[in-house]
Structures are given as structure tokens and as C-alpha cells.
């Protein structure tokens, strides 16, 4: 059980435990997602046809904002109480530890969000046939968002105005995922065909993010703790 894998597992378990204790936090990304999607019908008006047009976009923007906000919790509390400093002194590569943290974070934010999305889609009058694509696109897209977002989250630790600065740095980087995610859903709400191409692009983004994000964010952590 010892060794690198044991340590990675322990980091993962630690994150889950902490999040579980802060029970509100487990739900908050989710609740934010729910609230933003419900605000829209309030602000736009209740006509079904109009709603249907904007539904893919609204769902994806809401998922993206919820992920962005939850990024603040990825490293911040460990930074403040000194745990991160300790993690730098682990005998194992930092990027492996960071990867575990990101994975746990996604399991607690992105995954529930993707699983809950069908309910909200129905609220927004999205056609039934598009719901599969919605869940699929979120399952492929949200881990990419978390991975990319870990870099700015690490960079802004201990920086004045860190919290909101993260959104500023990360949202421009998110545009490709947003475009193809929303497009995939919109396409399958229409003809239901082109969505495969979009989904495979999302998969490619995920692979790319997996290969560089843990490395880049551990480099960023070292800089922030210097």
C-alpha cells in the first residue's frame, strides 16, 4: 500500500474526506449550476420556443461558471493552513499529488453536475433526444475544465484578489470547450448527427489537458510557494 500509488490514493481519500466534512461544499457547485439555469427563464421569460433555442448555451455556460467558481477551493485552503507547503516536501513527484487532487475535485464537482444535468435540461425545454449528448459532452468537458483551471488556481494563490482573478485568467482558455460542448448539444437537438464529431473533439481536448495540466499546475504551485 505504500509507495507512489499509496500516496496518491491517500491524497484522493483526504480530499474526499475534507469535502465530505464540509458537506455544503460538495453541493455548492451543483447548487450554483441549478440556480444559474433557473435564473435564466426568470430573466428571459417563459416562452418554450425561445428557451429551447438558448438551452444548450445556458446549460453549458452554467456548468462552466460552476466549475470556475469551485476552482477557488482546489488549493486555497491547503495553501492557507500550510498543508500545501508540506505537500511540496513529499518524497513523491508533486505532479502526481496534484493529479490526485484534481481527480478528487472533479469527482465531487463535475461528475454530479453532469449527472444532474438531464433534470435541468427538461426544465429548459431541451428535446429528449439531445439529453444523451448533453450528459456525454459534460462528462468529457468538465474534467478538461477542471484540469485547465488548476493552473490559474495554482498561480493565483496568495495573490491579491486571487479569487476573482482566477475567472479572469481561466475563462478565455475555456472557450474551445464551451463552443464545442454547446454545439454538440445544439446539433443533436436539431439533426442529431454532427454531434459525434464535436464529442470526439472534446475527447481530444481532454487528452491534451491530461497530458500537460498536472505538470503545469505543479510548476505553478512551486512558483506560488517560493
Amino acid at each position: 500500500m505504500a509507495g507512489l500509488l499509496g500516496a496518491m490514493r491517500a491524497v484522493f481519500v483526504r480530499e474526499l474526506l475534507v469535502f465530505w466534512r464540509r458537506s455544503t461544499e460538495v453541493m455548492t457547485a451543483l447548487v450554483f449550476f441549478v440556480i444559474v439555469t433557473t435564473l435564466f427563464p426568470l430573466a428571459i421569460g417563459p416562452e418554450r420556443r425561445e428557451l429551447m433555442l438558448v438551452a444548450p448555451g445556458v446549460l453549458w455556460v452554467a456548468a462552466l461558471l460552476a466549475t470556475t467558481l469551485s476552482l477557488n477551493h482546489l488549493f486555497a485552503s491547503d495553501y492557507q493552513d500550510g498543508s500545501l507547503e508540506q505537500m511540496l516536501m513529499s518524497p513523491y513527484p508533486l505532479s502526481a499529488m496534484v493529479f490526485s487532487k484534481i481527480a478528487a475535485h472533479w469527482v465531487l464537482t463535475g461528475l454530479p453536475l453532469a449527472l444532474l444535468s438531464p433534470l435541468l435540461a427538461i426544465q429548459l425545454a431541451l428535446p429528449m433526444k439531445a439529453i444523451g449528448t448533453l450528459v456525454g459532452s459534460l462528462l468529457l468537458g468538465t474534467p478538461t475544465l477542471t484540469l485547465i483551471g488548476a493552473v490559474p488556481a495554482a498561480l493565483t494563490l496568495g495573490v491579491r484578489g486571487g479569487g476573482v482573478l482566477v475567472s479572469l485568467l481561466v475563462l478565455p482558455l475555456y472557450t474551445p470547450v464551451l463552443i464545442f460542448g454547446a454545439e454538440a448539444v445544439a446539433a443533436s437537438a436539431g439533426q442529431g448527427f454532427a454531434s459525434v464529431a464535436h464529442l470526439s473533439l472534446l475527447g481530444a481536448f481532454l487528452a491534451l489537458a491530461l497530458s500537460f495540466a498536472p505538470w503545469a499546475s505543479s510548476a505553478a504551485l512551486r512558483v506560488s510557494l517560493d
Binding site: 485547465i148 493552473v151 490559474p152 498561480l155 493565483t156 495573490v159 491579491r160 484578489g161 486571487g162 482573478l165 479572469l168 485568467l169 475563462l171 478565455p172 482558455l173 472557450t175 474551445p176 463552443i179 464545442f180 454545439e183 454532427a194 481536448f205 491534451l208 500537460f212 503545469a216 510548476a219 505553478a220 512558483v223 506560488s224 517560493d226
Partner: protein, 245 residues
């Protein structure tokens, strides 16, 4: 590599840049004046757009420079991070506001041009959108630089951001294009421009060169003042400032 280190010392660069700045500035001025004259008076009136098209001579060079500057910034930043070169850190830092202002100028002149051409200041055209996102990337980079006050930490942190951005910029660029092609085309696009006449092309090229040299001039000027500020506690700066006052 040795050469780089020799000329990469901030002090050497300060002196070197000091000698080239007047020449660069002179070249910029000449190109700018001639280019503007040719563009505004020599190039013919466009049969479709009238004189409004002349805004092109400012718009297009700025749009080009906005992208070139990002590449330059990312390269400088990466060099500074990997080889721990302070000069590269400085060049990356001073490139960002220049690039951002090229981007902003391209956006503003483009919008002003858009009003007579498309009847509106803004459409979500692919080029326009990716230019806007580029602007946000510059702003993010500058915000990160500004919010860390330890120079070395700021340089390293923003270098990581610039590198991650550089991986992303092509992806953003192409996804925006692809996004656009999937929709019905907007009422008017940049692509169905009339072919450019040689009389329009010459001033355009001159203006582009002018803005390139403008960038180089400003890069040297701003890097010099940044160097002075950072090295304000070293002997050579003290001596320099002392001899002036």
C-alpha cells in the same frame, strides 16, 4: 548560449538599446509619415466603400501586430522561465501592454469600420471573436503580473500562464473559425473583400513595417525603464542616476 548571456545582462542591454533607440524611432517616424501620406492621399478612392476603407491602413497592421506580439511575449516568457534569464522576463513583461494596445486599436478601428460597412459596430464574426479573446488573454496576463509584487515570482507565474496560453491560442483560433462556419454565414464577412490594388497594397505594407518598428522602439524604451527600476539598488544605476543629477 554564451553570447546570449553576454548581451543578456540587463546592463549591456540597457546600453545597447540606448544606442539603437534613436535609429528605430527615426525609421518608425519616416515609415509612418510616408505610409500615412500614401494611404490617405495617394491610394485611390474605393468604388464601393468610398474613403471609409482608408481606416484599413491602421486597422490591418494593428491586427497583425496583435498576434505577432503574443508570439513574441510567449517566447520571451518561456526563455525567461526555462533559462532563468532576467532580460527575457523583462521583455515579456513590457510586450504585454504593447500587444494589448495593438489588440485594442484593432478592435476599435475595426468597430468604427464596421459601422459604415455592416451597419453595426459588432458582429460575432470568427475573426472579431478571436481577437476579443486575445485581448482577454493579454488582460489576464497583465493582471497576474500586476498582482504579484515580487519581480521574480511575477515573471515565473506569468510565464507559466503565457505558455499555457500559447498552447491554447491556436486551439481557440481554429475552434472559433469552425464554430462560425457551422452557422449560416453572417450577412457580411471580411473574406469577400474586393481584390486589393497594388496602389493600396504598397501603403499597407509600409504601415505594417511602421508598426513593426514602432513595436521594437517601444520595446526598447520600456525595457530600458523597467531595467532601471529593477536594478535601482545596484551600483551602476546609482552611478548613472548620480551623474545625471
Amino acid at each position: 548560449m554564451k553570447l546570449v548571456h553576454k548581451y543578456g545582462a540587463p546592463k549591456r542591454f540597457y546600453e545597447l538599446a540606448g544606442t539603437v533607440v534613436p535609429w528605430l524611432a527615426a525609421l518608425t517616424t519616416v515609415l509612418m509619415v510616408v505610409g500615412l501620406y500614401l494611404g490617405l492621399f495617394w491610394a485611390p478612392r474605393d468604388y464601393q466603400q468610398g474613403n471609409a476603407y482608408r481606416i484599413m491602413f491602421v486597422h490591418v497592421p494593428n491586427a497583425w501586430m496583435s498576434m505577432m506580439a503574443y508570439v513574441a511575449m510567449a517566447v520571451f516568457a518561456a526563455a525567461g522561465y526555462i533559462w532563468n534569464m532576467r532580460l527575457a522576463d523583462i521583455l515579456a513583461k513590457v510586450t504585454a501592454p504593447l500587444g494589448a494596445s495593438f489588440t485594442l486599436t484593432a478592435l476599435v478601428t475595426g468597430s468604427l469600420w464596421g459601422k459604415p460597412m455592416w451597419g453595426t459596430y459588432w458582429v460575432w464574426d470568427a475573426r472579431l471573436t478571436s481577437e476579443l479573446i486575445l485581448f482577454f488573454l493579454y488582460v489576464g496576463y497583465m493582471a497576474l503580473q500586476a498582482s504579484i509584487d515580487d519581480a521574480r515570482r511575477a515573471a515565473h507565474a506569468s510565464a507559466i500562464l503565457a505558455i499555457v496560453g500559447a498552447v491554447n491560442v491556436p486551439i481557440i483560433h481554429y475552434s472559433v473559425y469552425w464554430w462560425h462556419t457551422l452557422h449560416q454565414p453572417a450577412s457580411l464577412t471580411l473574406t469577400n473583400q474586393p481584390k486589393i490594388y497594388i496602389t493600396m497594397l504598397i501603403p499597407l505594407i509600409m504601415m505594417s513595417l511602421a508598426f513593426t518598428f514602432f513595436y521594437l522602439t517601444m520595446l526598447c524604451v520600456r525595457a530600458r525603464s523597467e531595467i532601471l527600476w529593477r536594478e535601482r539598488n545596484t551600483d551602476w544605476v546609482r552611478k548613472l542616476v548620480g551623474s545625471r543629477t
